[in-house]
Amino acid sequence: MAHEDENAYESLAVAAGGEERWAFGTGFDDPLAGVDTTVPAGVDARALARECVALGDDALILSQRLALWVSNAHELEDEVALANIALDLLGQARLLLTRAAQADPGLRPPNAPPHVPDEDALAYWRDAEQFTNVRLAELDDEHDFAKCIARLFVLTTWRLAVMARLVGSPDPVLAAIAAKAVTELSYHREYAAGWVIRLGDGTDLSHERMHEALAWAWFGHHELFQISDPDVRDEVQRVTDDVRETATLLRREQRCPAHSRSGRRGEHTDDLVTLLADMQAVARANPEATW
């Protein structure tokens, strides 16, 4: 029997041999520990950092949106799938944000407490207008599974095309991050494309819902191609057309607003503000916390 004044957590640590980490886990450490992080001569460090932040922000914000499906999906298998994909993307975000701050230490927000690692400083201590993710990543899908899938399909199709090209990046760290990402994104895209087809080629209702969701996921489509090679657009078009055809979701005229706002320039929707308020609340309320 434990005494009332006994701290249950401390007892756990005692049971684990006096080392708290064996009871509570080890926490997180530098995802690039021991990697040679020198930026090669001839690489524009600030441009490299901007690219890493943009790709890292896309992954972080999409990961957070996917994580909101945990305990809300229609069946356990898809909940586990979305959580697994979110975890892969979070891993990519950690590596990319860490790399960005190495390439350009000036990116680190000055208001972040000094003990906070760069990846956390960038994730928790920037405000919405400092994020450079595409706006599609941040939109609230309102727990509409068709929207969740449509967005995942568009973003993973684009991201896979980009990462496959970055495997040849002159920065060896970004090239290595991209090589791992290609493997992961390949099965993310298969998962999303499989659902686009299943719903598109399903009942009248699922067909119509998938159609509307794909139109929704074309929001800010131009933003995707602001930092990638021109042939990425061709690949995205080809893959999305192939899947649409199989899904019997023939292309309707996409409504792309004429204005040129872009998440890449920090111009965001209110959905990002709401998402960040939730995601950053604990870190900002307890600036001395470590995990």
């Binding site: 980490r21 886990g25 080890t26 926490g27 997180f28 450490d29 995802p31 690039l32 520990a33 021991g34 990697v35 356990l76 298998e77 586990v80 799938a81 697994n84 975890l87 892969d88 993307l89 979070l90 891993g91 990519q92 950690r94 590596l95 896979l160 095309a161 496959a164 060896p172 760290v173 090239a175 290595a176 991050i177 090589a179 791992k180 990402a181 290609v182 493997t183 992961e184 390949s186 099965y187 895209r189 298969e190 998962y191 494309a193 499989g194 087809i197 690949e235 893959v239 192939d242 899947v243 199989t246």
Partner: protein, 164 residues
Amino acid sequence: MNEARAVAETVTDPELPMLTLHDLGVQRGVHLQDDGTVIVEITPTYSGCPAMAEMRADLTRALNAQGFPNVEVRTVLSPPWTTDDITAHGRKVLAEHGIAPPGPAPRRARGPVPLTLGAPRAQVPCPQCGSHDTVETSHFGSTACKALYRCRACAEPFEHLKAI
């Protein structure tokens, strides 16, 4: 040197504790420096692998306990880990523990990654009864690296380490 390697090769994976990091192919190398520091190189299975810090701590603790006070665990990202890095012994141990080991990882040509929609997945024999009459019930499982299967011959569910 050999002693340091032998100690490092006893350290097991936090999520697949029947496998050593060596058998999983996560441990890329063990080196002993002139000053007595042991350098261990490890590579993450997946970008989001939450066990990297745990592996680092386990390796350091095991080596410290065996008389190597200075240990440095380095992350290696390239080339990326694939299930082909799992040793023959590792595959045997997985199967003995009811986890169907992965087949050969897909080899990709340069250029765009093709969609493989509807392509039949490789047959996964049941680790319990050996039957090939199995079906994938979920492509994602309790960890990023595993899928869930069911055997139609013996009706047992089992996990399969996906080939990547």
